[in-house]
């Protein structure tokens, strides 16, 4: 796919931003969607800044919400600040806004990533750019 997100330009990438096992995409209106690629089938969790249909969640303050699996809180998404905050995923927080993608304390701004499997990969142990697509993930589709 080709898209511009958080001032980054992704050309010919499969997944622009991979947060753990979750693909994060931003539409033209700036709304984020999150798709979990763990397992055999992709699972849409956040659709255009709202919990996706059939997803367990809990509202939190200021229109944010926590995505849950059963009673386990996985992560919080704040549609106003466009921040994903891990609850039990053990990942640094991610923010996607007009002029940057911020991962924990690292800021990515005005980069171009071409032809990589994944544009920006965020794991428990670090961040990388232009990485190959991890093999264990489901196909990105909704």
């Amino acid at each position: 796919m080709n898209l511009a997100m958080g001032s980054q330009t992704f050309v010919g990438v499969e997944i622009p931003l991979l947060w753990g096992t979750r693909a994060v995409l931003q539409d033209h209106a700036g709304k984020l969607s999150v798709i979990n690629l763990a397992g055999d089938v992709a699972s849409l969790e956040v659709l255009a800044d709202r919990p996706a249909p059939d997803i367990s969640y809990a509202p939190t303050a200021n229109d944010a919400f926590v995505i849950k699996k059963g009673e386990v809180e996985l992560y919080e998404y704040n549609p106003e600040s466009k921040v994903l905050t891990s609850a039990s995923l053990k990942l640094p927080s991610v923010q996607v806004v007009g002029d940057r993608i911020q991962v924990g304390g690292s800021v990515f701004s005005n980069n171009m990533i071409v032809g990589a499997g994944v544009g920006i990969v965020v794991t428990e142990t670090g961040i990388s750019m232009g990485a190959p697509l991890p093999r264990s993930l489901a196909v990105l589709q909704v």
């Binding site: 659709l47 709202r50 509202p59 589709q141």
Partner: protein, 336 residues
């Protein structure tokens, strides 16, 4: 002492002379990004407790766990900067000296909490409590699962601390997602000392009878139902306020609104008596209707049969907007 169980409301606790003044937090409900200060949800929870006169107890074990996580975050950030500098210098790109400790400051969670909220108290487990936790860990005694792969020592220290605090104060609230703290194996012991349990900060607010985000959303969903329930004999006003909301769970439906919502609720009846019930809200597919069912209804000393009504289901976005959002995402993934 009469057994309380998990469903004790603050009013029930207070009427029987049980204060429930302390809220104990486990580290697993304190998650968030501390690099810019306390996470907003935690900060608001502490502020609400302070305003309502509740002490927030942080077991030293929980504080150490959360501090360890923050120390790792700081160490990782400093290492990233150091590696970046080394990479630049390897390529003969000059780079000024950087004081890593000044650039990436230590995160002191306790200092953040105590500087803003005077109701936060750290409790250190006693030697006797450590011994009791060790005994239960070694023999895999409850509330630890008998087939647990690890001995869950930290969780047991927190459990013993919470039980003893509840015993001393006549009641307390433990907020923890951990199965050792929230599972059924601890039910009897918790009930015996007035230890009420909640699995997250929002549920804790509901237990304390305070406004929570889940409570607010549930109130909005149920608002059209009370007049119908009143017709079926439930002794409520037409627009009652929920007093407590516990174990609220939501599953998103269509058009930006919940499709399923369940919770344990209490509210005031017409005569001032407390009504308690389990509520189940279900939107009917993509239709504009939802069914609300109340079960296990108690009203003062009485009980009521299961009641069910059909009400309008809210829509936050239009069907066409939902369809457009999904199609836009599919285009983004599949197109250019």
């Amino acid at each position: 002492m009469k057994l309380l169980g998990e469903s004790a409301s603050p009013e029930y606790v207070r009427e029987r002379g049980l204060p429930l003044q302390s809220v104990i937090l486990n580290s697993d409900v304190m998650w968030g990004d501390y690099s810019k200060g306390l996470p907003k949800r935690l900060s608001e929870f502490l502020r609400t407790c302070a305003r309502e006169g509740y002490s927030v107890i942080l077991p030293a074990t929980a504080l150490m766990e959360i501090s360890r996580a923050q120390n790792k975050t700081v160490a990782d950030s400093r290492q990233a900067v150091a590696q970046a500098i080394e990479t630049l210098r390897t390529h003969a790109i000059s780079c000024p000296e950087v004081d890593l400790e000044k650039l990436v400051k230590d995160i002191d969670v306790l200092a953040m909490m105590k500087s803003a909220y005077s109701n936060v108290v750290i409790v250190q487990a006693s030697l006797e409590q450590y011994h009791e936790a060790l005994r239960r860990a070694c023999f895999h005694l409850s509330p630890q699962l008998s087939n647990a792969k690890s001995d869950e020592m930290r969780d047991l220290v927190i459990w013993i601390t919470a039980v003893d605090l509840a015993k001393a104060e006549g009641g307390a609230l433990l907020v923890s997602q951990d199965v050792v703290h929230s599972g059924k194996l601890g039910d009897e012991e918790a009930a015996g000392v007035g230890l009420v349990r909640a699995k997250n900060l929002d549920d804790a607010l509901g237990v304390l009878g305070l406004h929570s985000s889940s409570g607010g959303l549930l109130s909005d969903l149920l608002a059209p139902s009370w007049a119908e329930f009143k017709k079926q004999g439930l002794p409520v006003e037409e627009q009652p306020s929920l007093r407590t909301v516990r174990r609220a769970a939501f599953v998103q439906g269509h058009y930006g609104a919940p499709g399923v919502a369940t919770a344990e609720i209490s509210l005031s009846g017409c005569d001032g008596q407390e009504i308690r019930a389990d509520v189940d809200y279900r939107a009917e597919g993509e239709s504009s209707l939802a069914t609300v069912t109340l079960s296990s209804i108690t009203c003062g000393d009485g009980k009521l049969e299961r009641l069910a009504v059909t009400i309008p289901a809210p829509r936050v976005i239009t069907p066409s907007q939902e369809h457009q959002d999904l199609e836009a995402l599919r285009t983004l993934i599949g197109g250019s």
